[in-house]
């Protein structure tokens, strides 16, 4: 099992396990050691097409990235600006 920390942003905050009111708070998940990011979406009930950007420890990763113990994961919907 591996333990990871997760942050959700923008419209994804409604999928926070403790409810949208806690949306900005980090939470931890205990996962099987070969879990990838898209499996985390499923655990949280996030439809895959709603996630546009995954950052793990400040680096971009694709949905098939396999999580490691202690990873800090940030999930974003499509966002842009200037």
């Amino acid at each position: 099992m591996v333990k990871v920390e997760i942050l959700l942003f923008a419209t994804l905050r409604r999928y926070h396990p403790r409810g949208e009111g806690e949306g900005s708070q980090a939470f931890t998940l205990q996962l099987e050691s070969n879990t990838n990011l898209s499996q985390i979406y499923a655990v949280l009930g996030i439809p895959g097409e709603e996630v546009k950007m995954n950052f793990v420890n400040n680096r971009h990763q694709s949905p098939d990235y396999q999580v490691q113990a202690g990873d800090k994961i940030a999930l974003f919907p499509p966002i842009a600006g200037g």
Binding site: L7, M53, G82
Partner: protein, 579 residues
Amino acid sequence: MAKFLRVNMTDLTVDVSTAPAKYSKLGGRGLTSNLISAEVSPECHPLGPNNKLVFAPGIVTGTAAPSSGRISVGAKSPLTGGIKESNSGTPFSQSLARLGYKAIVIEGQPENKEDLYLLKVTEDDAELVCANELQGKGAYETVTNLNEQYERYDVCCIGPAGERKMTMAGICFNDPEYRASRYSGRGGLGAVMGSKGLKAIVVEKGGCPITPINEDVFKEGQRKLVEGLRSHGVTQPGGTLNTFGTAALINVLNQAGGLPTRNFREGVFEGAEKISGEYMAEVIKERGGAGMTGHACHPGCVIRCSNVYPRPDGSDHVSCIEYESAWSLGANLGVDNLDHVAEMIRICNDVGIDTIEAGVTLGVAMEAGLAEFGDGEAAIELLREIGKGSPLGHILGNGAGFTGRAFGVVRVPVVKNQAMPAYEPRAVKGIGITYITTPMGADHTAGYTIAPEILGVGGQLDPLDPRDKVELSRAFQAVTAFVDSSGYCLFITFATTDIPSATEGMVETVNGVLGTEYTPDDVVQQGLEILRLERTFNEGAGFTNKDDRPPEFMRYEKLPPHNHVYDVPDEELDEVWDF
């Protein structure tokens, strides 16, 4: 027929005439840069009588095309010493276009440097009126006064910083509710307006919507573009721009390790959440009152990324908190109090200064020990000095480069003396190429490679990889030069980059208005021609490849958390201009 309004501030005369045929297919940046290149000596003093200030709506501005109420303001910049186009979204531009004006050209300089004037523009005529009673007035009071005095006119003005010819002074336009909030902020063009003794311009509302030469082509293009904007996750109603504003980027760049923090010392800010778009939207909802997200800077924008931020009692504090300002006056100063940030944006809007240059200047001032990083109240006090016009205010008001020299600071994040925006080049290598090579001085909007490097729009590249970013930056710079000419907001490109039919739609609306048959490829060529013209002007002003370089500290100081220096080699930077 499209008209030119020439205003001679030396003899205080105005002339309305048919626009020269050679400019008939141009608008926005294409027009301002062509006109400045043709009529202004690159060697002139930017604040002297030989500089010209040009206002030009875009090609499709004034039509029913979505998100197209943009204006370009051009001149030789007193901040960079090179050519400048600074862009804003405002009903002023739509009114100017609908009265049939392709451009207003302000020339010369009054003999009596004390006098201030207002330019009143109607459909067939224009007149200069004494505006000495507005001397020293902030932009808020100026816009409110002029709105009372000239009902059904849109307003453009400068604040005290422009009157004092400070190089961070911008040019202010009204939003649809007559807030002094929409800025052509960059490059010190407010100082050029001040140097001409012009405090304000009012333009009569009304006029006729522009009739496209080829109505069917225009309508088909409009339909495709609107469809694209309404279906893309970023630009659609209820999408992230509409719901959270551009400040939703604060958390994104923070997670990417590319949010410049405490004067570009770090790439992650521990207080990011408190200045983010998500937090801002929550505060707006909680406080209610005048607060709103989904605000439009001009009627007809379907994206509506702007906002009104309320005070705790619900009254209107400022419009708007955008990413650049939340960063420059927040993370860049180590400030995590959004009410302090809002107050600083309000001061900038009122004094009439660019929020990016102002924030970066305060960061340099903090580096110099004038205040502690993180102290929002001290930052507010420093900013007020600019409005007061104190000796310190004059140093700060002349920007980050000037302030760095005044206080012996080495870590000064500028290119061509213009402050860097909210993306750390050491963490996002392509945007650095844009900052360094654009003729505008450090400017993210000149070629927004952040789209593929960070946001996954138009592909997904590794932001830390310095390789193969030259062509990317050049391509973005070319498309941008055209979009800035079209009158469209640059934010339509998030949809057009991903949706080919939306790009076709954009080009078709331009073809409809002009009666041309441009293809998307032609548009890129046109953008390249504009870039070449701007580059040539800068060469005439004395710029060489040696000016296309990052600030030296970025070559040897590693930026946490990725601990990269800026590692795109000089030779590659020079290749941007091999076309």
